[in-house]
């Protein structure tokens, strides 16, 4: 899947601006961004549900607009799953299997079991989570080469969330690519190989999760018995805070050697080094705008 300068404007609003993205076969790709950043717009353009204002999107080297070809290898879970209220779960799974890109019925039955979905109920009675389960089961049970999942776990409980992560890994093991738009940063951290961060319709970053961490500051907390060395002037050290007498916290970018050497002289009692979570990285990208 790749896009080139993909843009979508709604009047003066630039919902998506010049997005260049490439997802390789067999990759689990996380797509992050706050509400209104353009994640769902991107997915609608990829699916050919909306036409780009400018730029191109290709799926398997087929233009995204050629849906009859492109969708032969694709399965999709919308953010807000709407189902025909009078059909039961089993009937909807049958419909999607018969009209979709080809389904592994045995795996489908297994997924119904694992996600604990009562397929004999009409969709009218399903909660948000159950509707998501129907769409997820239908998508994971396909042998499509690309799964596009738009915030697929927002209504799932932690047990089902775990099943979801297992299903994503199984998909990757089968060689399927997964394009996962999500707010659940822990989930993205757990399953994604690479992550794109979208901000106000523009791409802010594309990197592996570990590279993202490296780009960001590590937080170090130290308690000591000796004299506090002058850390403020050291390269890479920032925001030194005194938590309590003999107990400081500071953030660090780059190699930790020099700062640690300086602290040795202060007789370290305890030391904790914490890498930033994706959540903190995420907040670092967007937080400034809010504060």
């Amino acid at each position: 899947m790749r896009t080139a300068k993909l843009s979508k404007h709604y009047g003066p609003v630039r919902a998506l601006d010049q997005l260049d993205l490439e997802v390789a076969a067999g990759e689990v790709f996380g797509f992050l961004g706050p509400n209104g950043a353009g994640k769902s717009t991107t997915i609608r353009l990829l699916l050919g549900l909306a036409q780009p204002t400018a730029g191109t999107a290709h799926l398997f080297d087929v233009p995204a607009a050629d849906v009859a070809s492109a969708h032969r290898h694709l399965a999709y879970v919308p953010a807000d799953v709407a189902l025909w209220p009078q059909l039961t779960g089993a009937e909807i799974l049958e419909l999607l299997a018969r009209t979709g890109p080809g389904t592994d019925r045995d795996y489908q039955a297994e997924l119904v079991d694992r996600f604990a979905l009562d397929v004999n109920k009409p969709a009218r009675t399903y909660s948000t989570g159950n509707r998501q389960k129907v769409a997820l089961i239908a998508a994971f049970a396909t042998r499509a080469r690309l799964l596009i999942l738009d915030e697929p776990t927002s209504g799932l409980d932690p047990l089902m969330e775990r099943e979801f992560r297992t299903a994503v890994r199984e998909a990757r093991d089968r060689g399927q690519s997964v394009f996962l738009s999500s707010h659940q940063l822990a989930e993205v951290e757990a399953v994604c190989d690479r992550v794109a961060i979208l901000r106000a319709g523009r791409l802010a970053e594309v990197a592996t999760v570990s590279d993202l961490r490296r780009l960001h500051r590590t937080e170090i907390e130290v308690s000591f018995t000796g004299e506090l060395p002058d850390l403020e002037t050291m390269p890479g050290v920032d925001t030194v805070e005194t938590v309590a007498p003999g107990h400081i916290r500071f953030s660090l970018a780059g190699p930790p050697g020099p700062a640690l050497w300086a602290l040795v002289s202060a007789d370290i009692a305890t030391l904790s080094v914490r890498e930033p979570s994706l959540e903190e990285i995420f907040l670092a990208y967007y937080g400034e705008a809010i504060r």
Binding site: L49, V67, Y76, P85, T88, E91, P122, T125
Partner: protein, 544 residues
């Protein structure tokens, strides 16, 4: 430390429940106002127009008397109601427009009621409203107040128009009150159905069934003297029993008002239920029914079957009745040949033979069949805005193909409906002994198919170009064309005005042979509209 400059301000607490109640009223007004204005304007305009053209239609008292004799025929009475005082402009207007307006106001009232009550609940928007301080019962009461007022306004508009036309005030008041109460009765019926059934489709369907049954009872009561008392059981019969511009009876209105009040009270009482629940909840689970799920066209057919059965039942029942009373009509007109001439002057030309009679009534068939087609495309768009199409559109097919399948299946449904109408008429005619063959009957019914397909074309055009205006655009060929023809005839408009209506080009099959050229032109226009609509639909962004 940050200094606090401003004194902390306490939020201004107002009377929260009262304010949210007012907000709900305002919301309901917004939801219904546009259509309410249209229905009210239509009630006023039709009443004023027919009253104003009374003199040119009836001419003199002798003609009115002859028309009264014709209108007293059981068959004519079955179709158009019992005439009261045709010599009076007001009485004539009541006869010509009364039932039409009563059905229009009643049907609109119940449809809009189930839409703003159960429809909003189905969509989950009511949950948001009820998270505020407003209790669910008050929400229903507020909505009902607005809906009942809207129905009353339509009736009041008819009274105002008739008063402005200079007709007898008492008759105008009785007629308008009857229309208003009919609308209010069906708004309450819709509200009650919306409490009983846990989904909008069930609520609307059952309320429409009540309306259709009421109309049938009225027809039986008007048609058969021995069963005249049946009219006390239906709003349409009760409004007839008031005899506006004649005896102006208020007792039937009191009965209707009491029934409306009882129905409203029942709806409010039945409103004590769980939100999103109902009194008739379906079984929580059932084994899967996997038929017609194997392709997109098959699924379109599956979704159509139930509504098609409803439409077929209604249309079939009506045209069975048309066939059943055919013989009575023909006998009467054969015995009184001079009425044929009068009938044609009054707008019912060619009723002197069963073929002409059947042709006149088949022309009306284009309206429900076109309505069915437009309703299916409207439902398709509702699936789009509701996000239900998204999963199908993510499958390996173009959107144009999916919509094309829906259109073809709908066109098939329209064909089924005209065949049902033709067969029902033939069956009724056979039972009553009228000389109308099955082939003639089917030919007459199929003859109106191009007009219905024009409605389908208009709906598809709207789907691509302006889907939010689909209701209006799809009504142009059918309802618009019909009203244009009737109006143009009534006000003696220039010839070309009436020619704009597709109904002007409809041959009177089986009395005449079909206008194949006109049919071909209509099919061409309809197909072009479908083509343009589909092309645009494939290019535009999917809603929702």
């Amino acid at each position: 430390m940050t200094a606090v400059h401003a004194e902390p301000t306490a939020p201004v607490v107002t009377d929260e429940p009262a304010r949210s109640a007012r907000a709900v009223t305002a919301l309901t007004v917004r939801q219904v106002r546009r259509a309410a204005v249209l229905v009210t304007a239509l009630a006023a305009a039709m009443s004023a127009l027919v009253a104003a053209t009374h003199a040119s239609t009836i001419g003199n008292a002798a003609q009115a008397e002859s028309l009264t004799a014709l209108a007293a025929n059981p068959a004519i009475r079955t179709l158009f109601g019992e005439p009261t005082n045709l010599a009076d402009p007001g009485g004539f207007t009541v006869w010509r427009t009364g039932i039409f307006l009563a059905v229009l106001i009643g049907a609109w009232s119940l449809l809009v009621t189930t839409r703003v009550t159960r429809g909003e609940e189905d969509a989950g928007r009511v949950d948001l409203l009820l998270a505020g301080p407003l209790p669910a019962r008050h929400l229903l009461q507020r909505q009902l107040a607005v809906l009942l007022t809207a129905a009353a306004a339509a009736g009041a508009a008819a009274t105002a128009a008739l008063l402005a036309s200079g007709t007898d005030p008492a008759g105008a008041a009785v007629h308008g009150t009857g229309l208003a109460l009919t609308g209010m009765f069906f708004a309450a019926t819709g509200a009650l159905a919306a409490q009983i059934f846990p989904a909008r489709s069930g609520a609307t369907g059952s309320a429409v069934a009540v309306l259709a049954a009421g109309l049938m009872l009225r027809m039986v009561g008007d048609g058969a003297d021995a069963l005249g008392w049946i009219r006390w059981l239906t709003p349409f019969g009760l409004t007839g029993l008031t005899r506006p511009y004649d005896t102006n009876r208020w007792l039937p209105l009191l009965v209707l008002a009491a029934s409306t009040a009882a129905m409203t009270a029942a709806a409010v009482f039945a409103g004590r239920r769980d939100v999103r629940g109902g009194w008739l909840n379906p079984a929580p689970g059932r084994p899967p029914r996997l038929a017609l799920l194997d392709s997109v066209p098959a699924f379109a057919l599956r979704r159509m079957l139930r509504p098609l059965a409803g439409w077929a039942a209604g249309i079939g029942a009506y045209f069975l009745l048309v066939g059943l009373i055919a013989q009575s009509m023909i006998t009467f007109l054969a015995d009184n040949p001079h009425f044929a001439n009068l009938a044609s002057q009054a707008g019912f030309a060619g009723l002197d033979a069963v073929e002409g009679y059947a042709a006149s009534l088949f022309a009306l068939l284009a309206l429900p069949v076109g309505g069915f087609a437009a309703a299916r495309i409207t439902a398709f768009f509702a699936d789009e805005t509701g996000g239900r199409l998204t999963l199908l559109c993510a499958g390996p097919r173009t959107r144009r193909w999916a919509a094309g399948a829906e259109i073809l299946v709908t066109a098939g449904g329209a064909v089924v409906l005209v065949l049902v109408a033709g067969a029902a008429t033939a069956a009724g005619a056979t039972l009553s002994g009228a000389p109308l063959s099955v082939a003639e009957s089917l030919a007459g019914a199929v003859n109106v198919l191009p007009v219905a397909l024009l409605s389908l074309g208009a709906a598809v055009l709207a789907l691509g170009v302006a889907p939010r205006l689909m209701g209006w655009i799809s009504a142009v060929p059918g309802i618009g064309g019909f009203l244009l023809l009737v109006t143009a005839d009534s006000v003696n408009a220039p010839h070309w005005v009436a020619q704009l209506s597709p109904f002007a080009h409809l041959a009177r099959v089986p009395a005449e042979s079909p206008h194949l050229t006109a049919a071909a032109v209509m099919l061409l226009v309809g197909s072009t509209a479908v083509f343009v609509g589909l092309t645009t639909y494939g290019r535009r962004d999917l809603a929702a």
